[in-house]
């Protein structure tokens, strides 16, 4: 298992390099000029020097190499510095945003908590709703609960988040006025009232994403339970006189959780990607919103870094899913 994990980790490096190369070469084709916003009175030779200061004068492969060094070598040093108070990264050039001229990672760290709160909370909530529904509707297959449950999960899976989000805003913000339609990211939780406000503004985005995630995961849970419920070992367990609760919740559930856990792990990066839309609907000032504004502003280092972070998440969680699969299911041997 350890060698497998190690081998996968080593394999992840060329994958990540390739992905960063794809993103980088795609962005190289960008028609926009980062100097477009500079006033026309600035003479062309000054503009040329500004361009060089952004690192645009260098050949493409040097630019790519510089970005790699900055992202994989300088940024970790900055992280170590900020944790331990050392000065490894002093004087080294970091990945700078063209929009704000500040380090990209600093902005990412500022935006991360909003995304993590909304996305993380909704994913946890979605999983917590999905599992019991999936288990029960598989146990009582074709019952009224199962029929309604599968229909609702099909609807939740088909209705796009940008529609459910807007619908919730129309109902609960415009007509009823219960919840704010815009997520206030400057809000600080200091006492009970402000805590309640935080809850109120989180309800709608979290509910939208949770519904979507719950729909997908409960379908998997149900299918996986159904696969296991007819197996011989279930009959054996019943025949030896175990209670129904033990049979379903211990024997069947533990075996059906194996594929579901990997699906949950694989879904995490997708949720981050899907949150781009939800963040846009509720004006959450998170990573997705940052990506969209930087795409519109032609801020290539920011787009490059953010897209790469999304890719990094996908690769990491794929690895986690594979390792989990091996740990949970003793029948699977990678070596």
């Amino acid at each position: 298992m350890l060698t497998f994990t190690f081998r996968r980790l080593v394999l992840a490096i060329p994958t990540l390099l390739f992905i960063s190369l794809v993103i980088f070469s795609l962005l190289q084709l960008a028609p926009g000029d980062p100097m477009a916003q500079v006033p026309l009175t600035v003479p062309p030779e000054v503009k040329e020097r500004m361009r060089e200061a952004l690192g645009l004068g260098a050949p493409v492969h040097i630019q790519f190499f510089k970005w790699l060094v900055q992202f994989f070598w300088v940024e970790p040093q900055v992280l170590i510095d900020s944790i331990f108070g050392t000065t490894f990264s002093e004087g080294k050039l970091r990945v700078l945003s063209w929009q704000t001229r500040s380090p990209v990672m600093d902005i990412v760290v500022q935006r991360l908590p909003q995304t993590l709160w909304v996305v993380g909370m909704s994913y946890v909530l979605g999983v917590m709703i999905a599992l019991p529904i999936g288990i029960y509707s598989a146990y009582r297959q074709y019952s009224a609960f199962d029929q309604i449950g599968t229909f609702v999960s099909m609807v939740g899976f088909s209705v796009p988040t940008f529609f459910t989000g807007v619908l919730l805003i129309v109902i609960f913000s415009v007509n009823l006025g219960w919840f704010p339609s815009i997520y206030d990211t400057t809000h600080k939780v200091s006492d009970w009232d402000s805590f309640m406000f935080q809850i109120r503004q989180m309800i709608m985005p979290v509910a939208v994403l949770a519904l979507y995630n719950a729909a997908q995961i409960s379908r998997f849970m149900r299918a996986s339970m159904l696969d296991n419920l007819n197996q011989d070992y279930v009959r054996t367990a019943r025949a030896k006189g175990l209670g129904e609760k033990t049979v379903v919740l211990v024997h069947v559930l533990r075996n059906s959780m194996i594929p579901v856990v990997t699906v949950i792990a694989l879904g995490v990066p997708q949720v981050f990607g899907g949150a781009i839309i939800t963040e846009q609907v509720f004006k959450v000032n998170g990573l997705g919103q940052l990506l969209i504004t930087s795409i519109e502003a032609n801020d290539l280092p920011m787009v490059q870094t953010l897209t790469f972070i999304f890719a990094l998440l996908i690769v990491i969680f794929n690895l986690i899913a594979d390792v989990l699969y091996g740990i949970l299911d003793p029948r699977i041997r990678y070596d």
């Binding site: 992905i19 099909m154 940008f162």
Partner: protein, 304 residues
């Protein structure tokens, strides 16, 4: 000799495979309903504008912002354009984008899947490519692609065709991977079967083998991914339009209509409802269709 004809002869003709599939498909109520609803949507969206008197781009500024009435069943927008006509025009684009992008993804996915499964030499490199594509963050990349190539394609093909080609290609080349994986798996299993060996022993060439023996046998997973691909493509296109990076405003799609309606959702909430409902209903019906097809085409479930 007369005794011979008295022998019981089979009265029912032998049942064909497609008939079995149809029987199974019919018994799946949701799938049948989904198929009918999807057909209805497609037909009304493409034939509706021929019957409906208003044009989707006809501006009647005097009758702007109207609610539902007999003249305008879905009301009018802020420029007095008839919402029903716009919904039908938007549906044409959304459905065509969905179907075209699905076809592109399907062709790519089946080609790569068959090549990887059939030719052992290609297997490794093609599947590594598929894995790499699966590790790409798709929505951010789609956004970047639309942003980068919108201008040059608009200049080359005109704003409408340009963005259509761009979105279809972008969705197509980012969604072929699941099909390729499924098809490859099936081809790998088929290749070991006796009928393939028999065909090979009479000297069938690789090309004939694939088109004549392999492809017809992997049709069922391809058809299932086709339906799911339509749903995926429609949602992706609407999401892009919703983020303002899809079709231009005078060229409505359901996603674009929803995006435009969000600005007016306080005064005219019903305008949000129509495009959203249309997208959801289409995707829901296609998903049910896919579910039913999967059950009907799976010989292990069929006949139970």
């Amino acid at each position: 000799m007369t005794e011979m004809t008295d022998q019981p002869i089979p009265t029912a003709p032998p049942r064909s495979q497609w008939r079995d599939i149809w029987e199974q498909f019919k018994s799946h109520k949701g799938a049948l309903l989904g198929g009918i609803v999807f057909l209805l949507i497609v037909v009304s969206v493409f034939l509706g504008p021929l019957l409906w008197p208003y044009d989707a781009t006809f501006i009647d500024i005097r009758s702007r912002n109207q609610g539902p009435s007999w003249v305008h069943p879905l009301g009018t927008d802020q420029l007095g354009r008839d919402m029903l006509a716009r919904m039908m025009a938007g549906g044409q684009t959304s459905v065509s984008v969905g179907i075209t992008a699905m076809l592109l993804a399907l062709v790519l996915g089946s080609l790569i899947g068959v090549l990887a499964g059939y030719f052992r030499k290609l297997d490794n490199i093609l599947m590594r490519t598929t894995d790499l594509f699966l590790a790409l963050p798709l929505l951010p990349l789609l956004l970047v692609m639309v942003l980068l190539f919108r201008e040059p394609l608009n200049a080359a093909f005109g704003p409408e065709t340009g963005i259509f080609i761009l979105i279809v290609t972008a969705i197509g080349i980012t969604s072929w991977m699941p099909t390729a994986r499924i098809v490859r798996g099936d081809v790998l299993a088929l290749k070991e079967r006796e009928f393939v060996l028999a065909a090979r022993s009479i000297g069938t060439t690789n090309f004939r083998m694939i088109t004549r023996h392999i492809l017809p046998n992997v049709m069922s997973p391809i058809m299932v991914s086709a339906t799911l691909g339509i749903a995926n493509a429609i949602i992706t296109e609407s999401a892009l339009s919703f983020l303002g990076l899809g079709f231009p405003p005078d060229f409505p799609t359901w996603g674009r209509l929803l995006f435009d309606a969000v600005d007016y959702m306080q005064q005219h909430p019903q305008r949000v409802l129509w495009p959203g409902l249309a997208i959801s209903l289409t995707v829901l019906s296609v998903n049910y269709l896919g579910d039913g097809l999967r059950d009907a085409l799976d010989p292990r479930i069929r006949g139970r």
